[in-house]
Symmetry: C2
Subunit: 407 residues, 2 copies
Amino acid sequence: MSVEELLKVHGKPPREVYFDNENSGHVPREVVEEMIPYFNSVGYGHPSITHRPGWEAYEVIHRTKELLAEVLNAGGVGEFALVHSGTEANNLAVLGHAIANREGGGKIVVSAIEHLSVIHPAEEAGRLFGFKVVRVPVDSEGFVDPEIFKEVVDRDTSLVSVQMVNHEIGTVQNVYELSKIAKEVNPKAVFHTDAADAFGKLPMDLKKLEYVDMVTLSSHKIHGPRGVGALFIREGVRLEPILRGQLSSEKMWPGVENVPLIAGFRKAVELAFQDFDINVAKMRMLRDVLVRGILDRVPEVLLNGPADFSRRAPDNANLSFLYVEGEALTVELSINGVYVSSGSACTSRILEPSHVLLAIGRKHEEAHGSILFKTTRYHTQEDIDYTLEVIPRAVSRLRSISAARRT
Amino acid sequence: MSVEELLKVHGKPPREVYFDNENSGHVPREVVEEMIPYFNSVGYGHPSITHRPGWEAYEVIHRTKELLAEVLNAGGVGEFALVHSGTEANNLAVLGHAIANREGGGKIVVSAIEHLSVIHPAEEAGRLFGFKVVRVPVDSEGFVDPEIFKEVVDRDTSLVSVQMVNHEIGTVQNVYELSKIAKEVNPKAVFHTDAADAFGKLPMDLKKLEYVDMVTLSSHKIHGPRGVGALFIREGVRLEPILRGQLSSEKMWPGVENVPLIAGFRKAVELAFQDFDINVAKMRMLRDVLVRGILDRVPEVLLNGPADFSRRAPDNANLSFLYVEGEALTVELSINGVYVSSGSACTSRILEPSHVLLAIGRKHEEAHGSILFKTTRYHTQEDIDYTLEVIPRAVSRLRSISAARRT
């Protein structure tokens, strides 16, 4: 069946609740409206050219970087490089470090549950420039044990990358402590953290995080448009661009800055931070109701990631529905208007189980039955109620089919 | 003066005519409207996830690639990789080739007037992987002489990159002939052409261009949004991704595809090709009137690039106004609502003369006084008339100041 045919038979469900905010999400109307003028009536020029639409464009970029510095308390301690995605920001951090420090070589230390846009560039730095890549194991909830970490990091460690929040299972790492350990062992080691899933969800102060050298942010994770990522680079960090070409006001990534999207990103940052505590409390409350509701209504479900919700991102719910194929459940839920992802967020269509779930000790079949939900400040209690109606039905229908097949 | 203050004193001119389409441009309303639903009501999901907004997203990408194959007659002979800019597409072609073929080493041959997003990655391939980079000189109009080219390309040549149309001076290279020569000398050499400035302006048939292996396209050059570039990769070409991470439907660039922008790009392709001949005739006619008008009205002006307009891109006008600083003229014209770029498109704020203008033999002061205009199908005769009123006044005002200074 072609995708077009699939969509035809799919039909429009009575209600739609989108939880796949790991991968991409609704951009709210006010953010879209912020972008529209920049496509053709203001600031539509190249920000480095000395004409009116260029100056207006430059102003957008400048103000966006100022806002980031303000909400993350980074004024005067470093710069934000703007790129086109969190993936590009992670690549810039890891490969840009590797290129700048390739003569010295050494070790790149990452946690076993980093995003693939950290793990794969680290492996590429190994393949192309001879770095040794070490994956630090995590415990059954995804935490890096500081004692184990201390044994892995050494005087030969060139780069460490440990995420602030795990994208799939929501584990909040103690990045401050890990970065402090890394610098104590080797003051020259550079510490990067992928904070794409922490930004707008956990308080973050880049002056207090004094041992962290680079931080990845992503627009779409906070309801901004796809197409903007940012890398905070602390003053004095040695980094080289990984792509080459004409530079504009952005020195770490060549090409013309995408001003309309950057304007949208800035608006999304404003919205995420203007009622920060309320926004976070709302996603946390809805997530708690969702998880409790599912565990109450559906038997044989495992929670993936921290059981102590104070050490878990406020929006994250990751559950393995045993005896169900996650892909099948994703489709079944979609027919009912509930949109989630399975297995590994993003690894779908390539049906490999998530490296994150395997790293915390889940078996293949448990990983395959996993479903990732992320709640947002835009969800309502009605959305959660509807989801809690749909899920038990969908799971038991699939389990009955699969039980029928087994007999 | 801060940019904000600058904008305040600048004031809004009576008419605005935007010619800086080299660097970025107006995205017409119909293209913006095409994008809007994809931000939050249709296809806003990840194109690899098995839910409705994901399938809808996948459909956008699929249909965009089909349309590209159709308008460029590429069906069955290769694939289009979608990236975020022409700069990224050029980097993928050059560095992706270098990484895939780094064991073999050899020569990378580029023309002296390639875009910096080709020249700098070629140099990076030299620095990181030991390739030898050779720049083929061009004549005073920017043409690569096939006889000289034949002497430079050899059995050791791994990659050739010669653009279809020069971004700054509009020279239309004979890419077919050059690619044929390259393959005759070395059938294993890979031939890339940056066609960002030819796409939508010159007829292009990728089946007929049988010796060309990779072709760069860019959305913003045809009134699509910034944030989409494409690289055509002929079947069998050995190329590796240059960034690493989670792959989606796009195998050569990690991360979630930017579906709203891709939908806008597709619309822009449709519009550019649906009345191709009329669109091109219009930009050509307006360009001719503009160039003739300036040469008639302003003394001491040099035309940069081909004088034979049949060998020049239909939208390109590049003129050096002697005894005038291009940057000063750009500002003066902006005050009057005429938006152009100077010296080198994009090299501004770094006041280096364009490498293209130096390569065709212009002196530094001639390069600095150059102004680049690109006409489009959206310009009107009134736009050109207004520009022809503004320019002579602006040039003589600046020349009188500079003459006063000289005495």
